[in-house]
Symmetry: C2
Subunit: 763 residues, 2 copies
């Protein structure tokens, strides 16, 4: 089963429209909730009056700051900085100021227009630069309920008061100033990475039923247990009275980690005494959460032979109006900004800064795409100045397999040099373009190599359960969310492999926090690498129990009994699982319950306070065509390489890596949230451009290698994010190769490239 191109178990359901998403769930008496968003980016709320809305026939609940259901209405995964609806101020254009539930969607929409709000406008800070200005007004006058992360050796947290810095994390090893002083060359560059929308096909949606004693929430959420925890805190209910049920999720990419529509849906349901569905449309999703914009400054000290000796970096991450998961993104950026290189002296400062823009959150890559764009562009720029081939400069400095990334952390688990050479060869490095440069079209090639620590935060315990039922059929339960990545199929394959049965014999139970074994969340490519371990253990536990029960029945040693071809084999006898279960449990049924628990313990020996479960790899090679007249850049060939450790389902692994690279192409070429006078101006599916099929490179090659050694089943590692990392730098490096201009800011807008070409000519 493992290593086979098994068809996704959800494929037919999803393609035929039978798959159940949260929006498909309807309850008798269900109301429709709608939210009123602030048109202003920063304003004090003078007065708000929902009475007009409440008076409309069909309206069952109107929620404003005047009738909040709890005394402390603030939530947030790391900082409790966001209220169910705005209390004192609105902090970005799109902030929720009121919500309404009615028997029909149209009535709810109409009711929103009857809510009266008086604002007092405040100065708007649209960028980190504005927010950090001396004397800038504060986005949050008070910061509540901040969860203090515990750092280990090399990591530290620096307190700021009276400014808009939400978090300042420093990562340090060696003596960076001494290192820079020792260097023969010191180079410094600054880069800008865009703010982007996660753009899941299914926007945020939640159905909440508050029945007085308990709260049940059906939601399109990535991390149901964390959501349960947050909702229990927000509504001041014990966790055992909060239940989160997850159907299929139509894409998450980090957007669906944390409270989105759930708080409003639950508060409306509590007020109305009826179930309430709150579904955001595309505009609502754009105005709810995004990837953070970043500025990254890198200064590197290099020896004559090209070897790096020191790197000092600063990352400024735009939190937007509320912090969400950005504190982790910020830490991760600091820990990742020196890249997969051997650098003795490192100092990174990462600042998370509140502004009056759409709140940031985790996003596929967790800060790594931002810094990889910076360090891999910076490397090519240094190579150019040092007159060393960029491939050579990388090979000089790249970590060896088994070398340490940071003292104490998991050793590098991939042959980066060998793999980079493969990509270079695939792209025809050093061989000139394959096509012909004609007229105004110039061709160029670029490469990049990036890694990130994979597997997520410190998930202290991850559980799963495999049951063999009375007829021998198998039920698998785990808390990782199926959001398109195919985790249900992959983990089912692991169980089928361990039990020697076919995929049809295993069913994956629906995810319901009231029953499903605990999981920290579905993020950071952790499902196969972390949850996979628990599932493997569960399956082995169940297998062992079945074998030992049969051995007991026959009074023989367990070593004489084995599972083969879906049967329990003992000498010349063999039994179906159903027969074996009857032997063990009799006619009255019974079940074998296999459990898997994986504990992750914190470590104060590493900067982030816990070991990286594995290294996620993203190596890219790009060939571009640049139109010198327009600056338009076309990626004509792209090679993406990642390391799966071991592929459980090769088809899905390749799909994941392709998807990640396409995400990277979007960030490199098109995607950017554009603000005009504090308001997001492209919050719709027309003006906000993501890659279309015809934007894909004519030659698009995805290679997934299997170096083994991952922490997941059979050596598997996660691979959902690696493919994003190298696209932007590889493309920009290729543009430089083509037309000799260095682009320090993505997306690569034609206009900017054209301006840069002009400027170079003028020089």
């Amino acid at each position: 089963m493992v290593g086979q191109r098994v068809e996704r178990i959800d494929a037919q359901e999803k393609v035929t429209g039978r798959g159940v998403y949260t929006g498909d769930i309807k309850m008798p008496g269900m109301l429709y909730g709608k939210v009123l968003r602030s048109p202003l980016a920063h304003a004090r709320i003078r007065r708000i009056d929902g009475r007009g809305a409440a008076a409309l026939p069909g309206v069952r609940a109107v929620l404003t700051r005047e009738n909040l259901p709890v005394a402390f209405p603030y939530y947030g995964s790391h900082v409790k900085d966001q209220a169910i609806v705005a209390v004192d101020k609105v902090r970005y254009a799109g902030d929720v100021v009121a919500a309404v539930a009615a028997v029909e969607k149209e009535i709810a929409e109409n009711a929103l227009s009857k809510v009266e709000v008086e604002y007092e406008e405040l100065a708007v800070m649209e960028t980190v630069e504005e927010a950090l200005k001396e004397g800038a007004p504060l986005v949050h006058e008070e910061i509540r309920g901040r969860r203090e992360p515990k750092y280990g050796r090399g990591g530290s947290y620096i307190m700021h008061e009276g400014n808009n810095i939400c978090l300042h994390f420093r990562y340090e090893r060696g003596e960076v100033e001494g290192g820079l002083a020792e260097a023969e060359f010191v180079f410094e560059d600054t880069f800008y990475f865009p703010s982007a929308q996660h753009y899941p096909l299914e926007p945020h949606i939640s159905l909440a039923n508050f029945d007085g004693h308990s709260l049940t929430v059906w939601s399109s959420a990535q991390s149901p247990f964390a959501l349960r925890h947050e909702l229990s805190q927000l509504f001041a209910m014990p966790i055992n009275r909060v239940r989160v049920i997850i159907s299929y999720v139509g894409g998450g990419f980090g957007a669906k980690d944390g409270i989105r529509a759930e708080a409003v849906a639950a508060a409306l349901s509590r007020q109305a005494g009826r179930p309430v569905q709150v579904a955001f449309d595309a505009d609502g999703a754009f105005k709810t959460i995004c990837q953070s914009r970043a500025m990254v400054k890198i200064k590197t000290g290099v020896k004559k032979d090209g070897s790096f000796i020191a790197r000092k970096s600063e990352v400024y991450l735009d939190a937007g109006a509320y912090a969400n998961n950005s504190p982790i993104v910020c830490q991760k950026a600091a820990y990742r900004v020196h890249g997969p290189y051997r650098i003795p002296h490192v100092l990174s400062d990462a600042y998370l800064v509140y502004t009056n823009t759409v709140p940031g959150n985790s996003y596929r890559g967790f800060g790594a795409p931002h810094v990889a764009f910076a360090y891999e562009s910076h490397l090519d720029m240094m190579a150019d100045r040092l007159r060393i081939d960029p491939l050579e400069l990388r090979l000089t400095n790249l970590l060896e397999k088994g070398e340490e990334y940071a003292p104490g952390d998991t050793l590098m688990d991939c042959d980066l040099k060998g793999r980079l050479r493969e990509v270079a060869e695939a792209i025809g490095w050093g061989k000139g373009g394959e096509g012909i440069e004609r007229g105004r079209i110039r061709r160029g090639k670029g490469i990049a190599c990036a890694v990130k620590d994979g597997g997520g935060g410190p998930p202290k315990s991850v559980h799963s359960m495999v049951k063999i039922l009375g007829d021998g059929s198998v039920l698998l339960s785990f808390g990782s969310v199926e959001m398109g990545q195919g985790i249900r199929t992959a983990l089912l394959q692991v169980v089928a492999e361990e039990l020697s049965v076919s995929a049809e014999n295993v069913r994956v139970a629906e995810l319901d926090t009231q029953y499903t074994p605990f999981d920290r969340g579905t993020n950071a490519s952790s499902a196969i690498s972390v949850m996979g371990q628990a599932v493997l253990k569960s399956a082995r536990d169940a297998r062992g129990q079945l074998i030992s029960a049969v051995a007991r029945v026959f009074g023989v040693g367990e070593e004489l009994v084995r599972l083969e071809g879906g049967r329990v084999v003992f000498g010349r006898q063999s039994f179906s699982f159903g027969e074996a279960m009857k032997l063990c449990f009799g006619e009255t049924e019974g079940e074998v319950v296999g459990r898997g628990l994986v504990m992750f313990t914190p470590s104060d020996q590493v900067p982030l306070g816990y070991l990286s479960p594995f290294w996620e790899i993203g190596i890219g090679g790009a060939e571009v065509e640049v139109d010198e007249m327009t600056g338009e850049v076309k990626v004509v060939k792209y090679v993406s390489l990642t390391d799966a450790g071991k592929m459980i389902n090769p088809l899905q692994c390749r799909g994941q890596n392709e998807g990640a690279a396409v995400f990277g192409l979007g960030l490199s070429l098109f995607e950017d949230l554009v603000y005009e006078s504090g308001k997001l101006s492209n919050s719709n599916l027309v003006d906000y451009r993501i890659p279309r099929f015809r934007d894909l490179p004519r030659e698009f090659r995805t290679t997934v290698v299997e170096e083994g050694g991952g922490p997941g089943p059979y050596g598997a590692k996660g691979l959902g994010e690696g493919g994003v990392l190298s696209v932007a730098p590889a493309v920009c490096n290729a543009v430089y190769d083509a037309v000799g201009v260095r682009i320090r800011e993505v997306p690569l807008k034609g206009e900017n490239v054209w301006k840069a070409i002009l400027a170079r000519r003028e020089k």
Copy 2:
């Protein structure tokens, strides 16, 4: 917590109407299913045509034998003798011949009248006597899929072919013929026990959703896992694709064990492609299932001193048209008919016989009420003939505590003699009536003492789970159904006790076979005595894990850490559970999963093939007033004593015993299913009479003693059925005491008593 009169956790919900029963669950697109019942008691179906029904607007499915969804449409817990809808014949008036699902109930009702059925009438056998006549036609020409029970020493199964005997079970020990020959006196009597309706306030109801790949059934069922198993067999689906969800159940009493409305609901849903609710009304419930009528013959050999030496019995149990759980009822009757007495030589034959009446099933007491009525009436008759006081005759023969009931089985766990003396004293035995006999009113007293093996069939494994969640709140999961007996409250108390927390801290998860740990079923007073063991183990497992995790954090021995007052105490320090969980699992949550598994192994040393977990006790004392002119009997005082082993919730224990005694009063005085020309004539809530409040004895005393030693938590035993057993014999013995007539058949209809009084006078 344990031993406290904790308020039922479902009390407020149920009283205020917020409790969710199956009928409260509505799904979008849900259809209403209705069944067409045969008006004839025995007939071949010549032709059936549902096309007229299918043509009605709003009708979405019409199910007849012409379009059955499976090749083998038969089900039954022990014999696969019943089809989803009738195939060849109808076997009782009420047998389901067709079913319809429509968008409105009224349309479905109307559609039923459009189903055309042509019958060919067959001879009807209304009683066991008719069915056993030489040359009687067969109710079932062929008996399919019979589950052969495995008997142990003393139990045997005798095959019959070509007649209406569904099962013949023999229980034997010693040499009964030799024993009878040795006896100084031999007495033989025959008794009749009525057929009764279980009469749960909520009739059978099911909502099924067949989505092609899987079947989900919401149902008012007592034994969800057994139901899942049966549905999986019926619809030829693996068990992991069948899901049974149970809300509150409005009374079961044995009626809701097995497939009732579920098969039709699922088949209609499969045909319609929509969820279908099938709810039977009171008439439908009467025509679906009942308690079996029985004839019991007992012959006892007695020595001069009154000690019993041998007993030979025959039990004839009316299965009705389909077997359901009656095979077990039949075996149990045979194993219980010698009563709690020391009798060296015993031979019991129990016959289960098919007739053309409403199918029988398990019923509160599982055959014990039938035989207890017989053996305790018979005992008084012998005492009268021997001129020994009935109390003395009982004391001479009753088992001592610790004495064996049958070789190899669990020893008697109650001081029957002492307890019987208590009841005799409470009823004022030997002291004459408390009131004054005036005119035609005669007073009399009677006692009875009965036991049954409690805890049900061979439940090979019973699981449960206790989770301590991240904030220290507790979630308890088990598969016993809350059907009014208060099991959720009692098991919650066990968990609260073990974890030293208050009841509010524990929540019981909804019962859903996709998640809930396996349980065999909720019957035979097994919930506290059998499931209770698993819950106790789970709670102790969870407690141990929490203690050891905290001990690990502080690096101390586990013996230094304890739970007290809902806190984890270690030296002078103490933590709330939430704080302790954070210490152990960190900020990211995690959960402690306590598991309890109890295995029951079969034994070939005892007649039924498995040990009785405990003995359920029912001792009763009655005082009656008999109107000599009318024969009317009034129970003016009743004393019911049972042994709880240990009361987890005294309020509920007393409630259970009271309820059981009231059931016994119904059977003794009023309840009986009356057939006229093969048709049930009192299948409604007016003509079928159950006890009303004003029928209760003026003095109604319930004593629950705690002798300890039960297999459940803290020595608890089950006690849901004991109170039923002694009512009928105690009342009939009291009638004899009052007016000198012996009533061998209950219910004690005034007319029969009056006739008996007349006959006695004429003698």
